[in-house]
């Protein structure tokens, strides 16, 4: 699936054995987005000409030239991936520590809002701390893990108490929808002014 990172667009994928990997979203052959590709076993293949790549980024197969064993140097740029408590993290460069853990919380859904973090904070009436916004709605707590995509767009991962029942989870999802709407209204108003 496509994702964004400070290093540019990313093709994020999970192999059959369950391992996640992140590639620069551009096939080195002719520039097709790899996020449109397909996963077979432990490889990701480009939809255009079927060039397939291992998780480490090295090309394994060029279907137009089936006799060739591609050298290790034909490769796509990779990013480090950590799978932590149901949240996939990618890092640009080599971070000193692993991603944060959110004990007692479970990821519910991810959503994109057409607003920056400032507008979201204004709508929620509270500030984010280290990328996590603690939002209480109708006496229920919802945690929003925020990843900015430029100034005017934010990827927001909704987390809930891991003991929540389905009704509570649905209510949390609806609360996040409503908050998104309010934040986008504020962002639009800001542009109008």
């Amino acid at each position: 699936m496509p994702a964004q990172s400070p290093a540019g667009p990313v093709a994020l994928w999970r192999s059959r054995s369950g391992r996640a990997a992140a590639f620069a979203d551009r096939c080195p052959h002719r520039g097709m987005r790899l996020s449109h590709g397909f996963v077979r076993g432990e490889t990701l293949a480009c939809i255009y000409h079927g060039w397939s790549y291992a998780k480490a980024g090295n090309c394994l197969r060029i279907p137009a030239h089936p006799a060739l064993a591609p050298p290790d140097t034909i490769r796509v740029a990779t990013l480090r991936v950590e799978d932590g408590g149901g949240i996939i993290w990618i890092s640009v460069g080599e971070p000193a520590a692993g991603p944060p853990r959110f004990e007692g919380l479970a990821p519910l859904r991810s959503m994109v809002l057409e607003a920056g973090i400032v507008a979201l904070e204004a709508a929620a009436g509270t500030k984010a701390a280290e990328g996590l916004l603690d939002y209480t709605h109708d006496d229920r707590a919802v945690w929003l893990l925020l990843a900015p995509e430029g100034q005017a767009r934010t990827l927001m991962h909704v987390l809930v108490d891991e003991d929540s029942n389905p009704d509570e989870r649905i209510a949390a999802s609806r609360a996040a929808e409503a908050l998104r709407g309010a934040a986008e209204d504020i962002a639009r108003g800001g542009i109008a002014r």
Partner: protein, 281 residues
Amino acid sequence: MTRNTMIDGWYPVSLASQLDAHGRRTALMGEPIAVRRGEDGNAKVTGGNGRDLPTCIRYGHVWSSLGDPQKPLFAIPEADQPGRRLVDVGVVRVRCSPLRAVENFLDIAHFPFVHTDILGAEPHTEVQNYKVEIREDEDEVWATQVKFYQPQAAKSAEGGITTEYMYRVPAPTCSILYKTCPPRPGEWDVITLFVQPLAEDLCDVWPWMALFDDETPMTDLIHFQQTIFVQDRSILENQIPGLLPLDPGMEIPTRADLTSVAYRRWLKRHGYTYGAQLVAQ
């Protein structure tokens, strides 16, 4: 700024059969133009400032130019051959460089993945060597002896066959494909891709065909070609960068990409760079 050397070329701007007095508002390389049938019955094309543009009607389409064409439109002798059915496929808009649309048309290695079970299928993915040349007299790119296994080569084809192709690029945004014609061995079906450059990253594509096929209903022929082209559309809109790179420093062309490389070389030699990226990034 260097002069756009593509300005003097001919470009398709409308289907001839759909020309009426009301006309069609469109664009050519960023300039708004209007195409309509004049009072004398001929096609009339006017540029953004109201000036009359050169016009001709050929191969089912109205052609025009923003500049001063030094040559008549390229010849397709097969178009006048008796017994062929001429197929207006219509228009499909694509958010991509006009040059990328042509390059993709010249490519066979994508058939098994993009036109699965129609023009290609795994495991028949190998591209055998073929020949590419620039024909100096005509100043055209030609690829010949191109062979590829096809599960369903044409609407009239049943079962898989190895199909032979020839590709010809007579103008920077036009390509002609000659393809084995199952009902008439020895003859070639003609399938063209005429591309109207609206902007460097936006084009209207007008496929057109001249086929030996008396059996298949016309609508089936149109649908077959529309199917193929629309399968390519999502590829074309998702290649990075949007413009066609003339420096392959960020790419890895292989022997199977020989036609693409020859096409890009020919563009580079002529300075046909509208829709091209000059420095790899």
